[in-house]
C-alpha cells in the first residue's frame, strides 16, 4: 500500500515538476487525437445518415396473377419467416393501380384500353439491418425468384452497392488515419517520458542500487504516461465539442436555405469514454516504448 502510494506520488510529482514538457505533451496529444476525432465524428454521422437511407431500401416481390388465396397466404407466411425480412407489406392489384393513378395522374391514358388491371400484386419487404449488404441481398433475391408464385423480384441494387462501397471506403480511411495518429500519439508520449527519464537518470540509477525492482522504478512513469494520454484525450474531446457546437450553429442556416436539415450528432457517451481510454492506453504504450529503451541502457 505504502509502495503504491509512493508510485502515485512520484508520477504526480513528475507531472508537476516538468510542467512545460507536460503541457506541451498534453496539447500536442490533444490536437492529434482531435484530428482523429474529426474523422471519427464524420464517419459516425455519415454512417448514421447512410443507415437512415438504407431503412428506405425495399425488395419488391411481384406475384403471379393466378396465385390462389391459399398460395398467397402460404407465401406471406414464408416471407414473414425469412430472417432477411424485417417488415412485410402486401400491395394488392387494386392498391397498385390506385397508387399508380395517384403518383402518375397524367399517365392514366396508358392504362385505358387494356381492360383489366395489368399491375401485379406484390409484397414490399423491408430488409433486416444485418442483411442489407449487396451480397446478402443478391443471394436472398436469387432464392426468392425460385419460389412458386413469385413472378419477379426487384431491388435497388446499384444504390445498395454504392452505399456499401462508400461506407467501406470511409471505414478504411478511418482505420488508416486512426493508426497513423495513434502512432503519432505514442511517439509524442514516448518522447515526453524519455525526456523525464533522461532528466532523472541519476535518480533511477540510485533506485536500482538500493534494490528497487524494475516494476517499482517503471510504474510511476507508466502512470505518468497514462495520465498525460487521458488528459490529452479529455482536452481533445473539449476541442471537438466546441468545434462541433460552432459548426452546427453556423451550418444550420445554409442547410435550411438548401432545404436540408442535417441531423448531426456528437459522440455518444460510450464513444467519448472509449476515446479517453484510448488516450490513456496510447499514453501507457508511449511510456512503455521509452522504458524498453531504459532497460536497454541499463548498466
Amino acid at each position: 500500500m505504502k509502495r503504491i502510494g509512493y508510485m502515485i506520488r512520484e508520477a504526480l510529482t513528475n507531472i508537476r515538476v516538468n510542467q512545460t514538457t507536460t503541457i506541451i505533451a498534453i496539447v500536442t496529444m490533444a490536437f492529434t487525437l482531435a484530428c482523429f476525432g474529426v474523422f471519427l465524428l464524420l464517419y459516425l454521422n455519415l454512417r448514421g445518415a447512410v443507415g437512415a437511407l438504407q431503412d428506405d431500401i425495399k425488395v419488391i416481390v411481384y406475384l403471379h396473377d393466378n396465385l390462389s388465396a391459399q398460395g398467397l397466404a402460404d407465401l406471406q407466411q414464408r416471407l414473414t419467416g425469412e430472417p432477411e425480412a424485417a417488415a412485410l407489406a402486401y400491395v394488392s392489384k387494386e392498391k397498385a393501380l390506385a397508387d399508380f393513378r395517384t403518383q402518375f395522374p397524367s399517365e392514366q391514358s396508358l392504362l385505358q384500353g387494356l381492360g383489366e388491371n395489368p399491375l401485379p400484386a406484390s409484397f414490399e419487404v423491408t430488409l433486416a439491418p444485418r442483411y442489407r449488404s449487396a451480397d446478402s441481398v443478391k443471394r436472398w433475391t436469387d432464392r426468392l425468384k425460385a419460389i412458386p408464385g413469385v413472378a419477379q423480384v426487384q431491388y435497388s441494387r446499384d444504390w445498395i452497392d454504392n452505399l456499401a462501397a462508400m461506407i467501406g471506403y470511409v471505414e478504411l480511411a478511418s482505420v488508416a488515419v486512426g493508426l497513423l495518429l495513434a502512432a503519432a500519439s505514442v511517439t509524442i508520449i514516448a518522447n515526453t517520458i524519455r525526456l523525464t527519464l533522461y532528466a532523472r537518470r541519476e535518480e533511477i540509477e540510485i533506485m536500482r542500487l538500493i534494490g528497487a525492482t524494475g516494476a517499482f522504478i517503471k510504474i510511476p512513469y507508466l502512470l505518468e504516461g497514462a495520465v498525460l494520454g487521458a488528459l490529452g484525450a479529455l482536452l481533445a474531446l473539449a476541442l471537438l465539442k466546441s468545434g462541433f457546437e460552432f459548426m452546427t450553429v453556423h451550418l444550420a442556416g445554409p442547410g435550411r436555405v438548401l432545404g436540408l436539415t442535417p441531423k448531426l450528432g456528437f459522440f455518444p457517451i460510450q464513444v467519448s469514454v472509449w476515446l479517453v481510454l484510448a488516450g490513456l492506453s496510447l499514453g501507457t504504450v508511449g511510456s512503455l516504448v521509452s522504458l524498453v529503451g531504459l532497460e536497454r541502457s541499463r548498466a
Binding site: 509502495r3 509512493y6 540509477e205 534494490g211
Partner: protein, 222 residues
C-alpha cells in the same frame, strides 16, 4: 561472505581485472587499495551486479552472482549497502526521505520506516538534520547521510567506493571511525580507496590492486 575465483573483466578487449581470487569472511573490514585505474571500482561494480565478470566466479553469501537472473539482482542488493564518493543523494528529497528509500522499496510500514530511519540517523549523528535537503549539508554531513542510507536496512555487506575522496584528513578520520563502528556491529565492509592515510587510521586488512592484478593482501585473518 564474499568469494572471487579467477575473475577477469575486459573493457574493449583490454583487461581491467586479471585473474582475481579473493575471500572476505563475515564481519571482516577490508580496504581495497590501489591507484586510479587499478580496477577497484570495477571490482565493486561486479560485486553489486552493475556488471558481470567475463570469466571466473563470484559468490556472495554463497550465491553465484555470475549466474544470477536480472530479476533477482534487486533482492541481492537489498542485503548490501553502498557508499559513494559523490554521495548520490536525491537532491529533491529530505535527508529523512533519502535514508527511507531502501525501506520504502521493500514495502515496510510507515511505523517501521520512521523507527529504522531514526536509528540510522542517530548512528551517524544526523538526527537534527533529517528535514534538510542534501544541498544544505556539508560534504561530511552528506557522506554521513549516504552511510545512514546504506546501513538503514541492516545490510550484511557494506561496499564503499572512495568514501573519503574529497575530504580533509579530519573529516576522513571521522568517516572511518563511523565505518569501524558499523563493522563492530557485525557488518562486513569492503572500502575502495587510494588514500594511504586511511590505512593508518583503520589498521585492518589491506588488499592492493595494480593494473587489474592482485598485488598484495596484507593483514588477512586479523
Amino acid at each position: 561472505m564474499i568469494q572471487l575465483f579467477h575473475v577477469w573483466k575486459y573493457y574493449a578487449k583490454r583487461p581491467a581485472l586479471c585473474d582475481i581470487t579473493l575471500q572476505i569472511e563475515k564481519g571482516e573490514f577490508v580496504l581495497l587499495m590501489g591507484p586510479s585505474g587499478a580496477g577497484k571500482t570495477t571490482l565493486l561494480r561486479l560485486l553489486f551486479c552493475a556488471e558481470r565478470a567475463d570469466e571466473g566466479q563470484i559468490l556472495i553469501q554463497n550465491k553465484n552472482v555470475a549466474r544470477i537472473k536480472p530479476s533477482a539482482v534487486p533482492y541481492l542488493r537489498r542485503t548490501m549497502g553502498f557508499v559513494f564518493q559523490d554521495f548520490r543523494l536525491l537532491q529533491k528529497k529530505s535527508v529523512f526521505d533519502n535514508v527511507a528509500l531502501p525501506l520504502l522499496v521493500q514495502g515496510l510500514s510507515s511505523f517501521d520506516i520512521r523507527r529504522k530511519v531514526s536509528e540510522a540517523l542517530k548512528a551517524v549523528g544526523l538526527e537534527h538534520k533529517k528535514e534538510s535537503r542534501p544541498a544544505m549539508l556539508s560534504a561530511g554531513e552528506q557522506q554521513r547521510a549516504c552511510i545512514a542510507r546504506a546501513i538503514v536496512n541492516s545490510p550484511l555487506i557494506l561496499l564503499a567506493d572512495e568514501p573519503t575522496g574529497n575530504m580533509d584528513p579530519d573529516l576522513s578520520a571521522e568517516i572511518m571511525e563511523l565505518f569501524k563502528t558499523i563493522n563492530a556491529r557485525g557488518t562486513t565492509l569492503l572500502i575502495a580507496t587510494h588514500n594511504r592515510q586511511v590505512v593508518e587510521q583503520v589498521k585492518r586488512r589491506v588488499v592492493t590492486l595494480a593494473e587489474g592484478k592482485l598485488a598484495s593482501d596484507v593483514g588477512a585473518g586479523q
